[in-house]
């Protein structure tokens, strides 16, 4: 070979040349990318699995229930023995009640916390508060559900005597607390990425911190903040255990927040906890509701991505 006759020690290159002839190394080089692409395809298959599962089973459901009755019906009475009704609007309304209440709690508090953390707080304070927000975000939803049912509801009942044990208000507030850290930390990220030079420009003109925050930083970070809110609301829509425990199981088509409701997710849990036999209309109905839920959250996620991409600020 080429390196021979160089007049220096051959040992290492010789040893290397010997081991190069082993077949295994080349085989692994060819095999690994294939294995890795298979793992990468699992995530695609998962999405396809979700979409096709929901579509097929929902299709089966619509063999039995008319699609217009489902989409526009205002009564959801699947367990009625004589004449079951499958109008999804009460479930959607229940979901929206909880989500709107949650947003009312989380959006102002979350954005205010983000402004404080990004614009006012010292590094030291930030280092204490951010982990606490992470802890709050890591609390399992079942714990929040328990908290809503056994603490927030009795507390609210003292303020509003007419409040039922199961209602929209209590889970709404607690879902709000659950999504608050998400809004706070994503908005804070958006605001911190506004370059300091922009702040300095405003401060040098004699602006107060408040004016810098509201008139300079907030508008510059708006796309990030709005997309964080959309993502958080999407989380609220898909939230299950809090509303199952504290929201009740009575789908109603009204705007009352003090009485028992049922959300889409809570309905799926109700059917799954009971014993709806495989192949019954009720069994298929959870897929139809699941599909509806999936469409809602997917649209919101796409919206959030669109907002953060389309309106991204260039500094």
């Amino acid at each position: 070979m080429a390196s021979q006759g160089l007049g220096k020690e051959q040992s290492i290159q010789d040893m290397i040349a010997q081991s190069r002839n082993k077949k295994g190394k080349k085989f692994i080089e060819k095999l690994m990318p294939i294995l890795l692409i298979i793992t990468a395809l699992i995530s695609v298959l998962t999405t396809l699995g979700i979409v096709f599962t929901l579509i097929f089973e929902t299709f089966e459901f619509f063999q039995r229930v008319s699609i217009t009755d489902y989409l526009f019906g205002t009564e959801w009475l699947p367990f009625s023995g004589s004449e079951p009704l499958y109008g999804v609007l009460p479930l959607i309304l229940g979901t929206l009640k909880v989500s709107v209440i949650a947003a009312c709690v989380a959006v102002p508090l979350g954005i205010a916390a983000a402004i404080y953390l990004s614009e006012y707080a010292s590094d030291k304070t930030r280092r204490v508060i951010k982990p606490i927000l992470e802890v709050l975000a890591g609390v399992p939803t079942i714990v929040y559900g328990f908290f809503a049912l056994t603490f927030i509801t009795p507390l609210l009942q003292q303020l509003i005597p007419s409040l039922k044990i199961f209602n929209a208000l209590s889970p709404g507030i607690v879902v709000g607390i659950m999504i608050l850290p998400m809004i706070a930390s994503l908005s804070e990220d958006a605001m911190s990425s506004v370059p300091n030079s922009i702040r300095e420009g405003a401060l040098a003109l004699g602006s107060t911190k408040l004016e810098v925050s509201l008139k300079v930083v907030l508008p510059a970070a708006l796309s990030g903040i709005v997309s964080s809110v959309v993502l958080a609301v999407s989380r609220a829509i898909g939230e299950t255990m809090i509303v199952s425990l504290a929201g009740g199981a009575t789908p109603t088509f009204d705007f009352d927040v003090t009485g028992s409701i049922q959300t889409m997710t809570a309905y799926i849990v109700q059917v799954s906890s009971g014993d709806a036999g495989y192949g019954t209309t009720i069994y298929y109905s959870i897929y139809a509701v699941g599909f509806t839920l999936f469409v809602f959250t997917l649209l919101m996620n796409l919206l959030a991505q669109y907002i953060s991409k389309r309106f991204r600020e260039e500094y």
Partner: protein, 292 residues
């Protein structure tokens, strides 16, 4: 000519500073609400639950009577579940991340996979339950087993692990790879000997955090029909089982007040488990973070 009148400016300045102060207080209060909520929640649960935390609670199975109820089956079940989720989700997640960061070319297909992952992260957990029910429980006949639940949960946390692993891999400087290629190393040698050793702390931290999310998750298991009261410990991957969050859910639903205390005791155990996992993750992050 002067457009700015000093006295007016100074007068306005006072009120502007006042407003700034008021709003700062409002922002602090808003931030405190989150902290307050956490404190109230923790204090409430600890005061309710500690009375029921004793040896019997850990050694008893579920029961219709509050004083006999225990979490043995649930705790063991949760740990078994983790033993399925951890390897499955990490192999799939890290594999995907390596593919995307080291092998994938910049093209539509790669963009599609990436977009798919971020959308998958936003799918509600209960929908994963429906997927698991159809595919794992019914089509693959895994029923209400640990394996069915473990695979479902692995898919649920897969996007989180992929993103964490991608970030960790991306943080390894390209000069490190060049050094390895420059010595005649193959791609796979470079990945296993240079990239992964440097990225492993980040991957582990992200994975443990994702795993702790799976441990606290309830909804997909309810959809899979995992039972809540079991009188035996699981004896294999295909065995029926129950988990801590499910057990807590069952107790919390019961009308008798004593079960609230039992549920609170269960929550304490669950939270302690999560705190331990998170501490390990933070420890790894702080201890092994690589500096270049």
């Amino acid at each position: 000519m002067k457009y700015m009148n000093d006295t007016v400016v100074m007068k306005r300045m006072k009120s502007r500073l006042q407003v700034n102060k008021v709003w700062k207080t409002i922002f602090i209060i808003a931030t405190s609400v989150a902290l307050l909520a956490l404190i109230v929640l923790l204090v409430r649960i600890v005061t309710q639950g500690t009375g029921y935390l004793n040896w019997d609670f850990f050694n008893n199975f579920g029961s219709r009577f509050a004083e006999k109820a225990g979490i043995k089956a649930a705790l063991v079940g949760s740990i078994y579940l983790m033993l399925v989720i951890a390897p499955v989700s990490m192999i799939l997640g890290v594999g995907t991340a390596i593919y995307l960061e080291e092998y994938a070319k910049k093209n539509k297909f790669t963009d599609f996979i990436q977009m798919n992952i971020s959308n998958l992260a936003g799918v509600p957990s209960i929908v994963f339950g429906l997927l698991g029910l159809t595919i794992f429980a019914r089509m693959l006949f895994l029923g209400k087993s640990i394996l069915a639940a473990g695979l479902t949960m692995s898919l649920l946390i897969l996007p989180v692990i992929i993103v964490a692993a991608q970030e960790a891999i991306r943080a390894v400087p390209k000069e490190q790879r060049e050094a390895s290629y420059g010595m005649g190393a193959t791609k796979w040698q470079t990945i296993t000997r240079v990239v992964l050793p440097a990225a492993i702390p980040g991957i582990l931290t992200g994975s443990i955090l994702a795993l702790s999310r799976a441990v606290g998750e309830t909804a997909p298991l309810v959809v899979l029909g995992i039972p809540v009261i079991l009188q035996f410990l699981p004896d294999g991957l295909l065995s029926e089982f129950t988990t801590l969050p499910l057990q807590i859910y069952d107790w919390a639903k019961r009308p008798q007040e004593e079960f609230q205390f039992v549920a609170a005791a269960g929550i304490i155990v669950l939270m302690v488990l999560l705190v331990i996992m998170n501490s390990i993750a933070i420890f790894i992050r702080n201890k092994f973070q690589k500096r270049y």
